[in-house]
Symmetry: C2
Subunit: 318 residues, 2 copies
């Protein structure tokens, strides 16, 4: 798939009645993110070659870059300098990419297909896949520390702390641990929500909040953005569960129908397909309301882009 | 083994003719490091319980804490505030611990014994071990960012960048990747040195340099400390190879004789046992000379402790 095309939905932009061109915005933001990722990763001819080749394979192989786009939109709203915004987008995508590499391992989800390609362990071996993930995580913090140091007025240490916490045992890794422990267990809705708040929500929230923290936004703005991000994070997971239950592997670029096969409790298994879809749509409207409290959308990006991303996250086809 | 006892060597202190009591110093520094690690890791009753229990198992099970002691000694020389020094010791030990958890995995070194106990994957399963390592790495950067933010005059972002680089694909992870790729290959001495400069040396150097970077030591001091750290890092690996070839598993607390069994090129296989020992001793003396350029040892810690640690690293029995 082509990420930029996937985000081009003029119908949605038009419905908001602004001049904001989300297709152009997301294409530009994606282009910046890809360039920044390419520049941040060591070239494959840097020693050790094989590891760097595998790191690039893990990161540069596409993906929707939802987190990078959330960072870019939030950074516009927070008036974050472009080099720092790009570094935050890189850092969050490196963390996300490392988590996919490790999640796909035979000892974890045992997945062989990711973004339409063999997973890193299938392509480079298990040992290499462990190291690729480990090195991508280090790299995220290295990139972030370097970029923050170049913007002395930003609160770089708070940004790093935020990303580290969102990635760790009380964020993404913790959610994955709960997920692994809950296979074939009958989780109830609050448990499923906690799982996903940690497993996928924490990183989505960090994507929106890193620019806000870096630029020390006032408390009220900080809180409205955080509400927006939590709402979108939840909607993202519901949409994911709906897709897992309804789309095919070719469209998803990963193995579809795994949740039901593994007996996992999902929003679809708990609420039914129709109610899950209704819930996601309600969350989309809530997310818009949180943005409305931050000011008018001026068609220039920032809030417009955040709103369009909320739409996209709920209504995406893969 | 008891780490504090292992470092009590009054003979070495006496031979230097100072009043420095290394046994007391290292016991105090170890106590501080253990307390700080205990405080930094979430309690096992924090959700997810199982993951936090496994993280504590991985970290709190002893070990020599060489890296924490190097941080403590260097922090004294650099006059680094204690809370920041403790956080740097914690961060480096968390990174080291995560690397051991991942290195022990079946897909990597396939080790079942570590510090005299079952390895994390043997005790908690492979999937959990992957997550334990991942979360420990995040935790290292979280602890560091938090402590640096509380010391606004320190150069926290430079410290984080240093640790991230030392941990990543051009440091520890990169060294491990080269090591994996070189099994049953006839590496020559320069290649073995590069491997170990990355795999173990990078983190040992970071241990010494984090306080220097945090406190912005003058360039000349920075460089002498870096020379010291590189020399000690190399000596550490040679001593490790000697121990792997000569000690038994019970003394080491891990499987002995693995290098020869796996056909790995080591300092012992390349130089022979006697020359390897002589090389380590020569490096120990070089390390002392680098410290001499930093000023007189006053018996109060800092340089004295760094010197005693260099002695210990070369002359340890496990």
């Amino acid at each position: 798939m082509n990420g930029a095309q996937a985000f081009a939905d003029p119908e949605l932009s038009a419905r908001r009645g602004t001049a904001f061109d989300f297709a152009a915005w997301s294409q530009a933001a994606l282009g910046r993110a890809e360039s920044a990722l390419d520049a941040a990763l060591p070239q494959a001819d840097t020693v050790p070659h094989h590891l760097h080749e595998a790191m690039r394979y893990a990161v540069m192989g596409g993906g929707k870059r939802v987190r990078a786009l959330l960072v870019a939109a939030s950074a516009e709203f927070a008036r974050c300098p472009a080099p720092l915004a790009d570094a935050m987008a890189v850092a969050i995508e490196l963390i996300h990419a490392y988590s996919l590499v490790h999640d796909d391992l035979p000892a974890m989800d045992n997945d062989e297909l990711r973004r339409g390609k063999p997973t890193v362990w299938k392509q480079f071996g298990e040992a290499q896949a462990v190291l690729v993930g480990d090195a991508l995580q280090s790299s995220a913090f290295e990139v972030l520390a370097q970029a923050c140091a170049a913007q002395p007025t930003s609160d770089g240490l708070a940004v790093i702390r935020l990303l580290a916490h969102a990635s760790g045992s009380q964020g993404m890794c913790g959610g994955q641990a709960i997920d692994l422990a809950s296979e074939d267990k009958a989780l109830a809705l609050p448990e499923v929500e906690q799982l996903h708040r940690m497993k996928t929500g924490a990183l989505l929230v960090a994507s929106v909040m890193m620019p806000a923290v870096a630029m020390r936004l006032p408390r009220a703005q900080h809180e409205a953005l955080e509400q927006f991000a939590r709402t979108v994070g939840l909607a993202f997971q519901i949409a994911d569960d709906v897709l897992d239950a309804t789309a095919d592997s070719a469209t998803l670029g990963k193995t579809a129908g795994k949740d039901a096969e593994q007996g996992k409790a999902t929003y679809v298994s708990l609420l039914g397909l129709d109610d899950a879809r209704r819930r996601a749509e309600a969350l989309r409207l809530q997310a818009h309301a949180h943005l409305d409290s931050l000011g008018p959308r001026d068609g220039a990006g920032g809030l417009d882009a955040l709103a369009a991303l909320a739409d996209l996250i709920v209504r995406r086809s893969h």
